[in-house]
Symmetry: C2
Subunit: 333 residues, 2 copies
DNA sequence: TTGTAAGCGTTATCAA
DNA sequence: TTGATAACGCTTACAA
């Protein structure tokens, strides 16, 4: 490995000068700079990030905590994160959140990450306090079910969005509306569910606990859950169902198809997120658009600001949009 | 920040002993170990990764180079990577490959990564040699168009797979078969295209250059490209089309739908990869199954072996499978 | 404008 | 079984 010492020797200057050049200090004579640059070039020198981090206490790395790397909603957010991080010269280090291994996060990220971006996870207070103590800012894309003062969040106003969706279904004539979510582990689906229920109430509709279908959050588990439900009794207690995520909505749609239920005639389906595939299913899916890339940008900007001393934001001012497509219509009878 | 010195002072031992305990050396008296462990607990100590890396020259990080984080094929592979990396106590650091910024990779990964996993990119020889010089192993999931001795690869036997797909279409009665790919930047689609052309030849079918449709590799760009093609002239020079990636196949399918072409009656469509959505389109898509997760596992195992001194693998022994669904059938007339 | 040297938090060698 | 202490490669006062 070629180090800064090698460059200094090769260029016939001191190690400090090499640092000055590498870090673009403006106190180096032009001729010296050229000499150093040439030595760097000839030797193929690149500064060792670990050494630099140790000294500067900046890692230029941001941790990102996924729930599921296979979920295109989450990777869609990370698309925005990655683009903006690149502009800030930050690297992203991805981890999947495994509740039973939460304690490992401290070891993984300490001294390796300047900040941590979550996707709606409700970390244990103890974990949050650890990062707080080390001055590593935490920021969640999507408001977690359990909030914490140290952790800011960026999200869309889900209550307003859910109200609009419920109103849409109500105006079509639906009174009984089901919901499918992964509410275990205080998943962000859970947060959406709570707000949906409030929206139902605000619309003067009653939500029946039996109309909450639990699934693992994936397309497959939603398919499996819905198939079971239909097979148990084709008489559903609702004429429309809202899914906390689009993947689940697609799974529900497929289950209906395979079980002989016609969408939207027999059942209206709506999702959340507006992932790409929702406009390529048959029928296309009604959903709430979540501006993934923009929120990704915003998240990186915000955490960079926090790293540089700003306060944690609590921003739910982002625009959503109710996208009405062909999976929702008047109920049959 | 609480350091090893703090722990040593708190426990009344020397810093060395703390290291011994943290690294599970077996030369510490049980009582001393307990004392140290307790101090660690009380202080909330976690070793600083940067310092450790500097000393040990191991970063416990593996770089992963995406072409497109929004492509569910690539994130599907990373699902396997992440799971297996976790078992090896490695963290993954994700970057999107931007050809014009290839030179930055050296700075980003040097001294920060023990190895680098690519997704079929053809890096410049100069870049590869840099990593070679620093002893950072390179491993590609998918054989790149331009290979290099220092970089191993893991892949399925695409030629055999393409032969099987072409035979399937031929047996249905197709003679003219089109192909859609993103062949710029020596993308992995390009490699698939070259093998497809050879498979056509092996099947005694002629491939016409005009039947190669270029697209950006995304669903949207494929949709756009196919729509333009149909609008230019609904008389297509082929009765079936193979897409180098499933996302493109879905885009082509949607374009046909919107332009009034019936699939598979007017046009048969096949994809590659077997991403989740291919079994949820209407009609469902014929495709080549790529064992993403298993290859992800294998890739991490292989690069760990290389980090520990093994040779670069060149493994194309992985099983693929031709999945025949409803998007391919006999041509009309 | 350049050089010297202290120190970042570790690991590891060598003595004690 | 433990403790000093010298690296690791870098940044940054401070001195020259």
């Amino acid at each position: 490995m070629v180090t800064r010492d090698d460059v200094a020797r090769h260029a016939g200057v001191s190690v400090a000068v090499v640092s000055y050049v590498v870090n673009n200090k403006n106190n180096v004579r032009e001729e010296t700079r050229r000499k150093v640059l040439q030595a760097i070039e000839e030797l193929g020198y690149n500064p060792n990030m670990a050494a630099r981090s140790l000294k500067t206490k900046k890692t230029n790395q941001i941790g990102v905590l996924f729930n599921n790397l296979g979920n295109s909603f989450e990777t869609g957010i990370s698309l925005g994160l990655e683009q903006r991080a690149r502009q800030h010269d930050q690297s992203l280090i991805f981890q999947t959140y495994v509740p039973s291994e939460e304690h490992k996060l401290k070891a993984i990220f300490t001294g390796r990450t300047d900040g941590l971006i979550l996707m709606g996870q409700s970390l244990k207070p103890e974990t949050i306090e650890h990062f707080s103590k080390f001055g590593i800012p935490l920021l969640s894309v999507m408001k977690p079910v359990h909030e914490h003062a140290y952790m800011g969040s960026i999200d869309i106003p889900w209550f307003a969005a859910m109200c609009e969706l419920v109103e849409h279904l109500k105006s079509l004539g639906h009174r009984q509306i089901g919901f499918m979510a992964n509410t275990v582990h205080d998943h962000y689906h859970h947060a959406r569910f709570l707000l949906f229920r409030q929206a139902m109430e605000a619309a003067g509709l009653e939500f029946q606990q039996q109309s909450l279908l639990q699934s693992g959050g994936t397309l497959e588990s939603a398919y499996e859950r819905m198939s079971r439900r239909i097979q148990a009794s084709p008489e559903l207690p609702f004429t429309a169902i809202v899914c906390a995520g689009d993947l689940m909505a697609i799974g529900v749609l497929s289950a209906c198809k395979d079980c002989g239920l016609s969408v939207p005639a027999d059942l209206s389906i709506a999702g959340c997120e507006d992932i790409l595939m929702t406009s390529h299913t048959t029928p296309t899916l009604t959903t709430i658009h979540y501006p993934r890339k923009e929120i990704g940008y915003k998240a990186v900007d915000a955490i960079m600001a926090q790293i540089n001393g700003a306060d944690a934001p609590a921003d739910t001012g982002f625009g959503y949009e109710l996208i009405v497509r062909h999976s929702t219509a008047k109920p049959k009878q």
